[in-house]
Point group: D2
Chain length 333, copies 4
């Protein structure tokens, strides 16, 4: 039985609590949150939970692992303290506020032989697992481009911009499904508030062979759009996460080069054909993520949503910020 | 009766011929195309039309105006010859291959007192006219951002990239509805063919006051998307041109700033409310464009889709090309 | 504090338990279910609940009201026993297996001065409340027709046909929003199983003045459709419950009669105009239903989803069954 | 070269003229319409066409076949005259005003050895041809039900009700794809105008083995819906004709019967799986229909949209009218 201390009981906390408690071999024994009214809600639903206002006070109780579900700026301090005290750590995305913090946490976890994982929940959705499966064979061919739109009417965050808020979803997915590191980053962002925090941003990742990934993140769209395009040599995938059932569609469409006698021109025609809509598992992603974390502790197996992916996400976000400040200048990774 | 010589009878030619011939005070008397099989099609449907393989041969016949519907690289030569011979000119978008060509044509037309117009047909659609009308009052408030996605599976053009092919639609619309000039441009493009012509491109226009317009143009999307977002201070507009009837939606959603006692933070909340879907005229845009061109000749009135807009489109495209070659560097206009 | 005994802890039970327990002035103190494994789930989440396998054993404990959430055939027996023991009663839809059972329960509740309510949850959704509001003014005009499609891939019920399963939603809504009783019923149904229970059915209700309501209910559709049309004299409403946000649309479209000099003909033209998409409340319907039941007890107020509506639903279903057996014969109500 | 006389140049006439003239081995030489302004439009576009106001006057000119594109009530008289004069005949749907008229025309055509065809254009669409192909193998299994919704805001016809106007599309498709005759008909219709002509109607066709086809036709819907469901034993098809590209979807969903030890119950579970969206030909259906008519003359081959289907459509419509007048009474065919 893995005992867990959950730090931070805000928007995502109740989902974490419910999913970890639903597992057979794990129980959330301690919950920390500075706000008394949040702790009261915990007690109402789970009366036998220990609650503390300060994380430091938690260590007098018994637990094996810590879940960090606090604002980003506090991730490093809490995770470091947990690791130093010999606890396994799961951190909500993004992993930390800077690349150096991520490197330090990874190094610390390795030294201590502890699990360190980042909760990029999307990697456990039926859609992403199906896409990963499709890409692992030669069915789709080589990826030529990725384009993602993740926009909605969102509460402006006071401490992080829209890229740090929404971008980790897409970046971690691209890291996972391409399994390669981008060479460079370029980004544009605008802020429509006095605090200068960007509420709309466009991010490009450049890979070898002219492969590009483009992300549109916005808190200022009147409509919610979640559209992810993957262009392969042989087929193309459209993942629309707003679709209730037909989320992933595979188009029998690809690039086909024809050489022409006229050497000045290279014409490209398209094939178009049938569409295939694979059934996608509806199992709650968070429950699979929770299982994967516990398994990473019990079986010492690297989880799908591992710290290396979490670090790469932060590395890209840091470069994106730098590019935004430099009017879209390309930043090498 | 305005007599017209149509130069180029390719994909768009039949539409032009049909719409101009449908007007009361105008007739296409001459059609030029180097391909005999295209001229045969003209004669089959309009037996009394004069056809010539060379534009030069057309001048022996009687006409007042020339429509240039040939590939972009030939626009300047044909339009210049027409103007020099005292003919009014309508050019298909984009106006010409370079800013200097556009300037020269405008200057020539002014000197000769002739109409010079660019066919940005979209400006005459019910959707754009409705959006222009909505923006002309204070209903929407000040524009904060524009975002357009215009992607599909397209035939790769051998002489122009996807921005020069699809971009003129969006850029001319933004020029028209904002009625202001952008300060700078930045663009990213990739080519998946041997000829190096970009088939996917992302373009940003920067205006005063952190206003941004972003365009995604692609010939490589398995699905056709035409989505145009306008974020206003008071309301936001979504124009989905793939919708058969409900093309333009106005969302009662806007920015609302709240100052907080805590001076370090400026929180922004959203209002959300009803949606209004105005009826949009279904009159064929091309017929209104044709009328506007004829009226610009007969009444000496500047048309909606005027040469200044056409020039600004080319200026932006030229800057975008430069930015693409410089890895997304910002180019001042 | 109203104490509740919940009878039946199947598919809907957990939702009822959660919503009633969330109210301030009410608590589910006893849960009855013949299956031990269902009672265990109750105890895991709400350890202080009393559980019994038999409803009869519940009466030794303290409660004021009974919620009947068992299969339809047992509704009457449980509700009757509850009322006779002086308990208020909430019954899941449909109210009972026959019109006479409904009449007996209503008569019993009146005699005892107890609340008797049927859970037609849909009456408390934001969409239905908005539609009721729109219809209460003269905005929509007189209703001319209603058409509802409620189809999906459903588990075939062993004891009731698809009309008794899905029909109560639509019928109770029509009863509520029209506030008039239909004059006659006609229905067609087919069974694709050996047990003869209809899995596809079409039901028509006939009102005065040629007003018609048509329902299509099916367990055998590969796609889930929830589409409800209301044709008014002045405007028309489309409620698409599968839409995540734009559920209710009001079309500025209506009937407009023109008399013609030619007396043999009466031509009817349509006006079409703007569309209005009102914001619809997202409050969970079940929580409002729960509140309404408690209020009906504490304030002795007739609830929105009252027993009269529940009775009319069963009356119509009974007539529909009769019509199905008689090949669509019209049955007067 | 087959020469054609087109009778009636209303809404559909220009499409017929364009498509027949586009064929190599056929030409519309004569057009008849009582309205001079319609004939003027013909002459403007096809100056060498002979036009007459009366059909009788056409016989002095040379033609082989007649297309009847007039209001329904005149179909029989024109077609009969044409056949008696030795002309092949194509009639717009529905074939005639009564079953007996259809029988007489078929008998006359057989006696004279002439082609007689009804224009049910939908049979030539890519969607219907793909559905027919899918059904011809055992891929879908046996059809268990068909359900079609064909509703929109339509101009009320003064001489025929909505079933005679919209119903022939669906009925002819069902005749074609099932290739069996229904046993009985039942229908409900309402009229919201003074002339008593139904503007909303629901039609059921009953086949052997509890197979049912249901049609919803309406001129009074604020939204245009074209949705056609086919439930097969093995798979189900949804054809949404409003979809621009993904018109036909095949769902890996079917009926699966499980016998239970409990003999009173037969439970039915559903399989659900992938979806397959076959590419559907975009060739204009009318051009294929035109070709089929000419081929029926030149090669003496029975066309896809033959007179037998046309007759069955009218037989069903006649029975539906009778059922409507008898409050939904089942009418045996």
């Amino acid at each position: 039985m893995i005992k867990i201390c959950l730090v931070g009981y805000g928007y995502w906390g109740p989902n974490l609590l419910r999913n970890f408690n639903a597992l057979d071999n794990c129980k959330v024994t301690v919950v920390c949150d500075s706000r008394k009214e949040r702790l009261d809600i915990v007690l109402k639903n789970y009366p036998d939970t220990i609650v503390t206002k300060k994380f430091d006070d938690a260590f007098q109780y018994d637990f094996d692992a810590v879940i960090v579900a606090t604002p980003v700026y506090s991730h490093f301090e809490i995770a470091e303290k947990a690791l130093k005290n010999g606890k396994h750590v799961l951190i909500e995305k993004p992993m930390a506020s800077s690349l150096s913090q991520c490197e330090e946490l990874i190094s610390l976890a390795e030294k201590k032989g502890l699990s360190l994982m980042v909760d990029h929940t999307f990697l456990y959705t039926g859609a992403v697992r199906k896409i990963k499966e499709l890409l692992s064979s030669d069915f789709i061919g080589k990826i030529r481009y990725i384009d993602s739109t993740r926009i909605n009417l969102g509460l402006f965050q006071p401490d992080i911009n829209v890229l740090w808020d929404l971008g980790p979803h897409d970046i971690s997915i691209v890291n996972y499904i391409t399994n390669t590191k981008p060479l460079a980053v370029n980004a544009i962002g605008v802020s429509h508030t006095n605090n200068g925090i960007e509420n709309i941003a466009y991010l490009n990742l450049f890979f070898e062979n002219n492969v590009i990934a483009h992300f549109h993140c916005s808190w200022s769209s009147p409509v919610k759009i979640r559209k992810f395009l993957i262009g392969g040599d042989k087929k193309m995938i459209v993942w629309d996460d707003m679709e209730p059932t037909e989320k992933v569609k595979v188009y029998d469409t690809g690039y086909e080069h024809k050489s022409d006698e006229d050497k000045r021109r290279i014409l490209v025609d398209y094939r178009t054909g049938d569409i295939y809509v694979p059934k996608v598992s509806a199992t709650e992603a968070l429950s699979l993520m929770a299982k994967d974390f516990i398994k990473s502790i019990t079986d010492k197996i690297k989880p799908v949503s591992n710290a290396e992916n979490g670090l790469l996400v932060v590395k890209i976000l840091e470069a994106a910020d730098k590019s935004i400040k430099n009017k879209g200048k390309e930043i090498l990774l």
